[in-house]
């Protein structure tokens, strides 16, 4: 598939709910990801937001890492 050259600067074109709406889904997304579910299928707009927003992406990765650490204790 041809890569969109503008994607890195202008983001993905799919629907993006924004940071505040995404915040409401963080916990559900992280639990689903930890259960190994198909999060792209289950949370397409949230995943699109993570692609576009470095802050939320970093937070999601941080939350997942923290939860994995808690689970391993």
């Amino acid at each position: 598939m041809k890569r969109d050259p503008l994607e890195g600067l202008l983001g993905h074109t799919g629907r993006d709910p924004g940071c505040e709406a995404a915040f409401e889904h963080f916990h559900r997304y992280c639990d689903a990801a930890l259960r190994g579910e198909d999060v792209e299928q289950e949370f397409p707009e949230f995943v699109n937001h993570l692609r576009n927003c470095p802050g939320c992406r970093e937070d999601a990765e941080g939350l997942l890492a923290a939860l994995r650490e808690i689970e391993s204790d």
Partner: protein, 158 residues
Amino acid sequence: MPERGREEVDDLCHQAASDAAMAILRKLPEFRGESRFTTWACKFALFEISTRLRRHAWRHRRIELDEQVWDRLADSAPPALTRLEHTETLQSLQRAIRDDLTDRQRLIFQAAVLDEVPIDVLAERLDSTRGAIYKILHDSRARLRRAVERSEGKEGRV
């Protein structure tokens, strides 16, 4: 990390933990069991800590419109820019940033995308919220994409 810096970060984390605990207590009636309680509660702690740490890391750096940003980026381009290999597209984009965005959109797009300033930091400096800054960034990106596509369409490249 120097001792003083470590104390500052420790202090930030303690403040964040305290604010997160308050947020959890305030939001508790809204917990609907859609996830494990630990996951839901950790979300607030993580957001408080990450926001404070980002703001702390950027506290001595200025954020301003910089007309030379493209020249500076030639040497230290963020990954997003290095992937944009098409010179004509890049020129269309530069034109669109100059002509199609408002001053505030230009400042936020340049800071967030080209200078990689975290959105929480921009929200603090511009006396706004993360959600409002992201909305401006999102609208700016959509406007730039339309302008670039229009420009390339005129040149028969689409």
